[in-house]
Subunit: 306 residues, 2 copies
């Protein structure tokens, strides 16, 4: 099959994470939404990454991006230290507990989209300040498909700007707790419908180990998460998921509902690998064939006979 | 289609429940695992119910069983009061908080299976003392398919007897928290495999609003729950689910893996109606056509194209 294979532009954070889970602890490892989503997307198509790191950012981390053939011309190095996040997970790994967030170079980050990136047809705005997401939307030209992520911090602090983003993108990803918070309802179905009414044509609610829900005006799709015996570190699962979704859409250049379902399943597959190890370790050694195997298993495990 | 339509024997509690949820409160309404599961099963096949009520049990509740053509020759009336449960749910309705449990006539209940019930091919042992479940298994003759439910109370207090039940039945249903408790693991996949190793050929882990997982030695199936905008009272959802599962299996007289998947989906559909209203109110006015509609929707919402 000769696939259309359009490129993807990803704007978001590149971070150094310090993480503790019941299965281990790591310090200053590669993290950040743009890192996870770009590497996930790179399994499907060409990725152009926009973000910022500090002068202390280890060169070895760039090697992973280069190995995955990610275009990092848009990854700036600024004076100062790289964005750092530290947190821990208890037995219930659906819930991250933040210990500290040091924005560092991210504090003054203003994403400038290189001229040669501005006509990228597929765009993922990872979880950053909604004002920055809007600034990116102002710079890109006639995109085919834009998708944005957000988080509770912005929903509480900049609700109206988050809603401005929702009005201007084709799709959003949001986790279950955030959807409930934003829509003030216990029902995710009610929340999904309300979110659609806010502007986007597609809403994906991420439920962690319980999978994801895809809402479109005429359709509703439920994807499970891939069943795992060992989850070592859930950090980056949501970003990986979104990267897989947009990567598959760009690879097929098809944003129909039917294809969107497959994209959501590919997103779940990519996330299932991320959580098997700390940082991007599992994605770094992932083979394309493994992605196809789990996709086929996901189809098999959800099939209901006539 | 001329279906085989085998009968089902259900043994469990019939109760009067007092319940408060964020959407209302009811006092001394019809409840109990045998009530929910028998009425759910009755949408698919003939049901024979074994349980006990007190002299105070309102006659009007028997009318529902009779309307559903449930055989209540095995429902004894004993001297004393009917089993009573009272509890409440907060905003997160996945979690029931028990206020009081009064066993009353249930305290001395020893299920005697009427002679004409002993060869019933399909048997559901609802959540009762595992010693009573074993006593029922001793009385039935060459059943085709037995399925048992249990709960945290018995897992803590009579773990070995629960395991004795698991060794002797074809299938078990258990909720996610109980599976984790019994198997001492966070992973439901690990728990499902461990439970299979304890004896049953099929294990169903119920995840409330997140659906259900079906484990067999060679297969793994994920069923979502039906998406609802309004959940008024989750009481009885798990019992309704199990009743739907065993009812559909008996209706088709087919316990293949493929058919078991469909049974799990029918179970989810039945449960989705139960939670829309208090007590068995929604099931009491449910039409068979509505069951088929939601089953078709469940297939549609999980379908992934090739």
């Amino acid at each position: 099959m000769h696939a259309p294979r359009k490129p993807v532009l990803i704007v978001g954070s590149v971070a150094l994470d310090t993480i503790e889970t019941p299965f281990g602890a790591v310090r200053d490892v590669l993290g950040g939404a743009a890192s996870y989503s770009s590497v996930a997307s790179s399994f499907f198509t060409n990725v152009r990454m926009v973000g910022v790191v500090g002068e202390d950012f280890p060169r070895e981390h760039l090697r992973l991006f280069q190995e995955r053939e990610i275009d990092i011309a848009g990854l700036r190095t600024s004076t100062g230290e790289t964005f750092r996040w530290s947190g821990y997970y208890e037995y219930d790994m659906n819930q991250a507990h933040t210990v500290a967030t040091h924005l560092n170079v991210f504090e003054t980050f203003c994403p400038t989209i290189p001229a040669e990136y501005r006509r990228t047809p597929y765009v993922f705005l990872a979880n950053i300040d909604p004002d920055l997401q809007l600034a990116v939307l102002d710079q890109i030209e006639s995109p085919k498909f834009t998708i944005a992520d957000t988080m509770n911090f912005w929903i509480s602090g900049k609700r109206n700007r988050v809603l401005d983003v929702f009005k201007r993108v084709d799709a959003i990803t949001i986790n279950d707790a955030e959807a409930r918070q934003l829509c003030d309802t216990a029902s995710l179905v009610t929340a999904g419908r309300q979110l659609l009414a806010m502007g986007p044509k597609m809403v994906i609610i991420k439920k962690g180990e319980h999978g994801a829900l895809l809402f479109t005006p005429d359709d509703y799709f439920v994807a499970p998460s891939f069943p795992l015996e060992d989850v070592r570190d859930p950090t980056g699962a949501g970003d990986t998921f979104a990267g897989g979704v947009v990567g598959y859409l760009a690879f097929t250049d098809d944003v129909s509902e039917e294809n969107m379902r497959k994209a959501v399943v590919y997103g779940s597959v990519m996330a299932s690998y991320t959580v098997e190890d700390f940082s991007l370790n599992r994605l770094a050694r992932l083979e394309h064939g493994e992605v196809l195997v789990r996709f086929a298993e996901m189809r098999r495990m959800t099939m209901i006979a006539e």
